[in-house]
Point group: C2
Chain length 379, copies 2
C-alpha cells in the first residue's frame, strides 16, 4: 500500500491510487486464473471473526498481533483477520468437512496487523494463496511448490527462486540418531536458525554443526545433507526419506525456478510440519511468500488433517507491475457523440471518456485518442 | 454472505464457499470491466482508518454504526470502513485533488457495520460503485444512472428498474413558492417520506399534498409533478429546471430499465443534493443500491466539490448467480499423466485436478472428464 496522505491516514495504512489499483486487479486476476485452472476453488472469508476461531485451528497464530475488540452484539472478543490460512483451515474443518479429499481451495484478501513486520511499516497487506487439504505427501508438496511458482510468474514476477527447508529437522534428529537433552532442543533450534556455530556448540549441539554447511544452491547442498545423514555417527540415515522427497520435488520444479536449500531455517515456519519453502522474485526485497506442510486441527473427536499450502504477499509485486505498465487506450467521446458507436468501441477494447461539457479536456483526462466521424483519431 | 457455521462465526458474518465465491468473482470482474470501459479508474482503500477521516468528508456518515477501537500505535480512534464512498471522497479531496476534472473513479470491497440493516442481519457486505467527481449536472447524472444499469446487467441482473427522487425537494419549495415555518420543515419532510397525508396536513404541509400523488411509473408521475409545479398557487414553476433534467435523464436511460418517480423519498438520501436514485432487479428483495448527486468537503480553504455516484451491494445478486451457475469443466489427470498435455488443456480453458495418489476419485473430486491418451474423455 502506498501512503499518500500521511496526515490523514494511520501509519501503515494507505490507498492504492489509479495505476497501483489497476496493477492490483491485474495481479489478482492472473493469480486466480492460474489457481482455478489447477482445480483450486476460491473461497471468501469475513474480515473479522471471533478471536478464538482465528487462533484455534493452527499452531503458531499470534493473537497479540491482531486488532481485537468486543463485539457489541455477542459481547465476545472479535479480531481482524491477520492470516487467511487460518480461516480456510476453519472452512476445511467445518463447512467443507465432508467434501472429498484432497480438497483444493484458494483465496485472496486484505489482512491486518497492529504493527508492521520488521522493517516494513505496512499494517495491511494483500494475502493470496492456495491450500491442498488432506495431503502432505511429496506429490502434494510438488504440486503446491509448482503452483506457487506458476502463480507468481503469471502475476508478472520474473527470476523466481525457492528456498526449501525442513522445519521439524531438529525434532526428527534429536528423537533419533542425535539425541539432545530436552531442555537444549529449543536452544539448538535457535542457534541453527541463527547460523551461529559457536552458540550451537555451547548449546550442546556440536553434532549438528554440519547442517550449517548443507546450505545454498540445491544440488550441492542436498549432497552435503545426504553425506551428513549417511554418516551413521551423525544423522544415521533417518533423513533418507526426506532427502529423497526433496530431490523428487526439485526434479519437478527445478526447470521453473532457482532452488536453494536451508534445512534448518525455522523462522516463519513455526506451524509447518516436515516441509517448508520461501519464495522470492527478482527486484522484490524480502520474500514474496512462503508455504509448506502443516496440520489442521479438526472438530472435537476428529484427528488433525494433513495439509499443504502457500501464501503470497503480492504488494511489492503490484508496485513493480504498476511502475512497468504502459499507456492505456483511452478514447475521448466529444459532446453529442454517437452512443452506439461508442459502445462498439468499448466492445473492441477501448476505454471511453465521455465529455460532460465543453470544458472537458481530452488530454488532461488522459485520453490519447478522440472519436471523430465514428473513428478513433490519435490526438 | 452465507452462514455455514453458526456456532463458529459471529452473527452477520460468514464465508462464501466454492459456488458463491466463484459467483462473487464473476460479478466483481464483470462490473469492473464495465466501469473501466467507461473510463472509471479503480482505487483501493484501507479496511480501517481514523474514525474522523471516515466521518468528515460527507454529511450523513453514521459513526455510531461502525466498529471503533483505539489504535495501539497512534493512540487515536480507528474505525472499520462502513462506506467506501467516504474513502473515495477523501482520495478525491487529497491524493487526487490536482487530477483533472471530471475525475472518474471506481471501487469495490467489503464494508462492515456493528449491526445489520433492518431485516438483513448481515454485518459485512460487498460494496461496489463509481464516483464522478467535479460534476453534478444532468449529463453527469445521466452517465452515472446509465452506468449503474449497465454494470448491474453485465453482472447478471435482469429486469432492472430505477426509482428517481429529488432529495432537496422540500428545501427548494419551502424556500420559494411554498414557504413553511422553519420548525415545520423536518416534520413535512418526514410525512412526505412516510406518505402520510393526514400527518402532512397536521404538520402544516397541506400545500405539499399533490406531491404524494406524483409517484409511480415515470412518464405519468413526472406529468403530475409538472402540473403541480406549473400551478402558480402551488409550486410556482421553481421545479421546472429539475423536471426538465429528470426528463432528459429518463430519455437517456428509459430504454434500458423501468423507471419510476418518487420525488419526496428521502430515506437513505441524507447526503444527496438535488438528485437521487434507487436501483432494483428482478428476484432481488430490497434494493441493489443507490446513488445521486452530493458534495465532497474539501481541504481547509477549498470549496466543497460537486459529485455524482452510485453504490451497489451485490451480495444477493451473487447468491442468484451462484444458484444459476452451470457445471464446471473439470478434467481429472491420472497419476503419471503427461504434464505438457495437461498444461495445454488448461490453456484451452479446462480446470485440471491432478491425482496425488491411487485413492483419488475423479467423480468425488467434481471432475466430469478424465485425461486418457492425451485426450479429455467424458466420465
Amino acid at each position: 500500500m502506498q501512503e499518500n496522505d500521511r496526515d490523514l491516514l494511520p501509519e501503515g495504512l494507505g490507498d492504492r491510487l489509479v495505476q497501483q489499483a489497476w496493477a492490483s486487479q491485474t495481479v489478482r486476476r492472473a493469480a486466480h486464473d492460474v489457481l482455478a485452472s489447477h482445480g483450486y476453488a476460491r473461497v471468501e472469508t469475513p474480515v473479522l471473526e471471533f478471536e478464538k476461531a482465528l487462533a484455534s485451528r493452527m499452531a503458531g497464530v499470534q493473537v497479540r498481533r491482531m486488532f481485537r475488540f468486543v463485539d457489541p452484539v455477542s459481547m465476545r472478543m472479535l479480531a481482524l483477520r491477520s492470516d487467511i490460512t487460518a480461516q480456510v483451515a476453519r472452512i476445511a474443518a467445518t463447512g467443507l468437512a465432508e467434501a472429498a479429499r484432497p480438497l483444493r481451495l484458494s483465496y485472496s484478501g486484505q489482512v491486518v496487523t497492529i504493527k508492521g513486520d520488521g522493517l516494513d511499516p505496512a499494517r495491511e497487506r494483500l494475502q493470496l494463496g492456495a491450500e491442498l487439504v488432506g495431503a502432505d505427501s511429496t506429490e502434494a508438496v510438488a504440486e503446491i511448490v509448482e503452483l506457487a511458482i506458476e502463480t507468481l510468474r503469471a502475476a508478472g514476477a520474473t527470476g523466481v527462486s525457492v528456498d526449501f527447508t525442513l522445519p521439524d529437522l531438529v525434532d526428527t534428529l534429536s528423537a533419533g540418531a542425535l539425541p539432545l537433552p530436552a531442555q537444549n532442543i529449543e536452544a539448538v533450534r535457535q542457534m541453527l536458525d541463527a547460523k551461529d556455530a559457536g552458540g550451537l556448540v555451547d548449546a550442546g549441539g556440536g553434532a549438528y554443526l554440519p547442517l550449517l554447511y548443507a546450505v545454498g544452491p540445491f544440488d550441492s547442498a542436498i549432497e552435503r545433507l545426504a553425506a551428513f545423514d549417511a554418516n551413521g555417527a551423525q544423522g544415521g540415515g533417518v533423513l533418507s526419506g526426506r532427502i529423497a522427497a526433496l530431490k523428487a520435488i526439485a526434479a519437478r520444479v527445478g526447470g521453473k525456478a532457482r532452488l536453494t536449500l536451508d534445512p534448518s531455517e525455522r523462522h516463519g515456519f513455526e506451524y509447518q510440519s516436515w516441509f517448508g519453502f520461501t519464495i522470492y522474485a527478482d527486484g522484490i526485497p524480502g520474500s514474496m511468500g512462503r508455504g509448506g506442510t502443516y496440520a489442521i486441527l479438526g472438530q472435537t473427536g476428529r484427528n488433525p488433517e494433513p495439509a499443504t499450502g502457500f501464501s503470497l504477499y503480492p504488494d511489492p509485486l503490484i508496485e513493480m507491475v504498476a511502475a512497468a505498465s504502459g499507456e492505456e487506450r483511452r478514447l475521448f467521446l466529444p459532446l453529442g457523440h454517437d452512443r452506439d458507436v461508442a459502445a462498439r468501441q468499448r466492445a473492441i477494447g477501448w476505454s471511453t471518456v465521455a465529455a460532460l461539457s465543453d470544458a472537458d479536456d481530452a488530454r488532461a483526462l488522459g485520453c490519447t485518442y478522440r472519436l471523430e466521424n465514428g473513428e478513433a483519431v490519435a490526438l
